[in-house]
Subunit: 112 residues, 2 copies
């Protein structure tokens, strides 16, 4: 099962690291405890809506952008395994499988 708090935590952590900022710095600006922020980033604690807004504010990332990234991550996790393109598939077949032509790709038809 895809858990929202884990995806939110990952996105927040990535945003903080991209900015080269520490847990201590962001937690201070967001006025949350360092331990709380750390647990949220690791997906171990549900962030309340108010504190999530505060953390986004401290990161200067709109909540909507965080949620958009989270929705994309969740969508990827929701995709049935059989529909994913394995890492070992050659690039040209991978392109076909990822495109709209997936269902009519020769590779799929012959494999069916």
């Amino acid at each position: 099962m895809v858990l929202l708090r884990q995806e939110i935590g990952d996105v927040l952590r990535h945003a903080r690291r991209r900015q080269g900022r520490t847990l201590r710095e962001v937690s201070s600006v967001a006025r949350v405890s360092l331990g709380y922020l750390s647990e949220v980033e690791r997906g171990q604690k549900e962030a309340s809506s108010e504190l999530l807004a505060s953390i986004c504010g401290a990161l200067e990332v709109p909540l909507s952008r965080v949620l958009h990234e989270v929705s994309q991550r969740v969508a990827a996790a929701e995709t049935p395994v059989g529909m994913r393109v394995p890492d070992t598939v050659p690039d040209d077949l991978a392109s076909a499988l990822e495109g709209d032509v997936a269902l009519s790709a020769p590779g799929l038809v012959s494999a069916a």
Copy 2:
């Protein structure tokens, strides 16, 4: 401040009503109490990640779609009031204000 739980609640309620289903029915399938689901829909309670997943499952709506809708609602709420088009603006000016030409629209320049 935009609160995530309120937007999630709105999206879940709309999804349930579109399906013509009752709180009782969905709460039963999701295995949450009717009161809990009602509070979540009204934005009065934070849904845990597990129960949010369960509610989405009962509604047969992917969590990713709920989050995508939520991100769009939050984005709209984040838009500064001055950038929104009031209901009373004529259609032609409204179109200009909503487009990329907003900052050069005559209506805005003369009002500045």
